[in-house]
């Protein structure tokens, strides 16, 4: 199944019944899939919006009613959606946003990139907030993490971003899809707007003019983000037990790195992979534990060095950090990564006991 279709199918199975989006390459397969899938459901809603802004604000409205709602786009479109994402975070509304990243900045190109790491993990829009960011690495994870995205969005009442790229969303892979969730059987949401029948009227808003109340709200959000940071960080490790050098990469870059690591292992180099699955919260604790034993790291990203900053914050001066980046939509080969690995390996004399 094609990656973009996996996302759509997993979203429907997670109980998503509202999708609004706007065409942009390389993610047009998602709205195309959703339009057909929603049409088959009696309660499915698909809207091709007039703009990215309209799409995210339609999601905002749908989310107010308690619907599991989603939009998707690619880098320049995600920039436009930031207004709505900030409002979703502020008003504590769940939503899932898929970013199929492309080369940037500006219009850039349509090739796979990881240039939006900062935007995704730092909030992206205005104000003091965070978004949960999930970085699927392969087809099965697209299905699993799409389900998780809706679960986290509801649990924490906050927007969740699935950070993919044109490579993973175009690739076809076998996948076991999760069992469908019946949206009617989801836990009740005592905060939604559905008309104040036999109850007091409700307000969903983000305007808080009183500075003291606004500060309290900011701290309330911060406490929520702290809980998220404790509860959901996730990373995968690969061949790290005896490793002397560990590559840190996520998404498509991690997959390429894995190929490079396999080749390096064939050459007898003791190399492993640390793959963050949640980019925010960054799995810093697991990395920190690893750095007690491993002194040499290589961050590989399809950008000029964004996650590198989060890695540097965790490692401090304890370990040596190398960086290799290919921005602009360039897709490295596993051979290329194995050459980078071996060059560091021998330059730092890691082969010596």
């Amino acid at each position: 199944m094609r990656g973009s279709r996996i996302i759509g199918e997993a979203a429907i199975r997670a109980g998503c019944r509202f999708y609004a989006g706007y065409p942009i390459t390389p993610q047009n397969e998602i709205p195309e899939f959703m339009s057909a899938a929603m049409a088959k459901l009696k309660d499915g809603i698909f809207i091709q919006a007039e703009s990215e802004l309209a799409a995210i604000n339609m999601v905002l409205g749908a989310s107010m009613t308690g619907a599991r709602a989603m939009t998707s786009s690619s880098s320049p479109g995600i920039s436009l959606k930031q207004e709505g994402i900030s409002f979703l975070a502020a008003a504590e509304l769940p939503a899932v946003i898929v970013n199929t990243m492309r080369g940037g900045p500006g219009l850039g190109n349509i090739a796979p990139s990881q240039g939006d790491y900062f935007q995704a993990t730092r909030g992206g829009g205005h104000g003091d907030y965070r978004t949960i960011v999930l970085a699927p690495g392969y087809g099965q994870e697209l299905a699993d993490l799409t389900g998780k995205a809706f679960e986290y969005a509801d649990r924490y009442r906050t927007p969740v971003i699935i950070l993919a790229d044109g490579m993973i969303s175009q690739m076809m892979e076998p996948v076991i899809l999760p069992d469908p969730v019946n949206p009617g059987e989801l836990p009740p949401r005592p905060w939604i707007l559905d008309g104040a029948k036999d109850r007091r009227s409700r307000i969903i808003k983000s305007l808080i003019l009183n500075t003291v109340t606004m500060e309290e709200h900011n701290w309330k959000l911060a406490r929520k983000y702290n809980s998220i940071a404790r509860e959901i960080p996730r990373a995968e490790t690969y061949m790290t037990e005896d490793a002397r050098l560990v590559v840190i990469a996520y998404g498509t870059a991690a997959r390429i790195a894995k190929g490079g690591i396999k080749r390096a292992r064939e050459m007898g180099l003791k190399v492993g992979l640390f793959r963050p699955v949640t980019l925010w919260p960054f799995p810093g604790h697991a990395l920190s534990e690893m750095s007690r034993l491993i002194k040499e790291f290589l961050v590989f990203e399809m950008n000029t060095g964004q996650m590198r900053e989060d890695v540097q914050l965790v490692l401090g001066e304890r370990s040596n950090l190398n960086f290799y980046g290919r921005p602009g939509g360039i897709i490295s080969t596993p051979d290329e990564i194995s050459r980078v690995i071996s060059s560091i390996y021998y330059r730092r004399h890691l082969e010596e006991d």
């Binding site: 919006a49 339609m58 008309g195 104040a196």
Partner: protein, 247 residues
């Protein structure tokens, strides 16, 4: 025997308005609340307040209210209405909100024939931010960003948003009214009623544009502001039913 001749509408909260003396929002809020009560839809109506002077509308309406980012009222209302088609959804928007930053959302919601109602309050200026030129500011009218008055060559001319919406295929009922006299207020209430009925009957997009005084930013007394609507603004934006395709 005592007889109640005037009371607070059922769906207004018992709090005083923050609006300036002579502002039209208080009247329009009341009219909307009266219509909601009279149509018996208070327990299934969801309102979408804007950014602008009416941003605090949720403090006054005693119904479910969900705040929209600036200009996105029609998109937010679309999201709500599509999920809950049997509820009544209206957005309440000012002229800067709907006719400048939110033009696209409004035109396309109308064109799709979204079954929502829009209350469009046109006071010819950005009131909340201190009286800057709005897309609807009449030519010659002073604002804090049009020294010497709005000049068509420099500032462009006022936009006839409701007429533009009249050209969309999905708009069903569009009327422009005012709240500067008792007669006009009564007409406004009738128009709001028709707009909500259009939605209740599932016919499609309805909007009432209401010319409303802003004495504070126009730097006039409330009485002068009401006169100004009659003498100047109505010449730019004539009161009329712009489109009525309810049948």
């Amino acid at each position: 025997m005592e007889r109640v001749v005037f009371k607070r509408p059922k769906y207004m909260k018992p709090v005083p308005f923050h609006y300036c003396p002579g502002c039209g929002h208080s009247i329009i809020h009341r009219l909307v609340a009266e219509v909601i009560e009279e149509l018996g839809i208070g327990e299934k109506t969801i309102g979408v307040p804007p950014a602008g002077c009416a941003v605090l509308a949720y403090d006054y309406f005693d119904i479910d209210m969900g705040e929209s980012p600036h200009g996105r009222g029609a998109a937010v209302a679309t999201g709500i209405k599509r999920v809950l088609p049997d509820r009544i959804v209206f957005s309440y928007q000012g002229d800067g909100d709907i006719a400048a930053i939110g033009t696209a959302e409004t035109v396309h919601a109308a064109n799709r024939g979204e079954n929502i109602t829009v209350i469009f309050v046109n006071n010819g200026c950005y009131g909340m931010t201190g009286g800057q030129m709005a897309p609807t500011t009449p030519l010659g009218q002073d604002s804090t960003t049009t020294p010497g008055g709005r000049d068509s060559k420099r500032d462009g001319s006022p936009i006839d948003l409701s007429e533009i919406l009249g050209m969309t295929r999905g708009a069903v009922y569009l009327e422009r009214t005012a709240v500067n006299s008792v007669k006009n207020i009564r007409q406004t209430k009738k128009a709001i009623t028709k707009a909500f009925q259009t939605q209740i009957e599932g016919r499609g997009f309805s909007l009432v544009e209401i010319l409303s005084p802003c004495p504070t930013n126009w730097k006039m007394s409330p009485v002068e502001a009401c006169k100004w609507i009659d003498e100047t603004i109505i010449r730019t934006f004539p009161l009329k039913v712009i489109k009525d395709e309810r049948d």
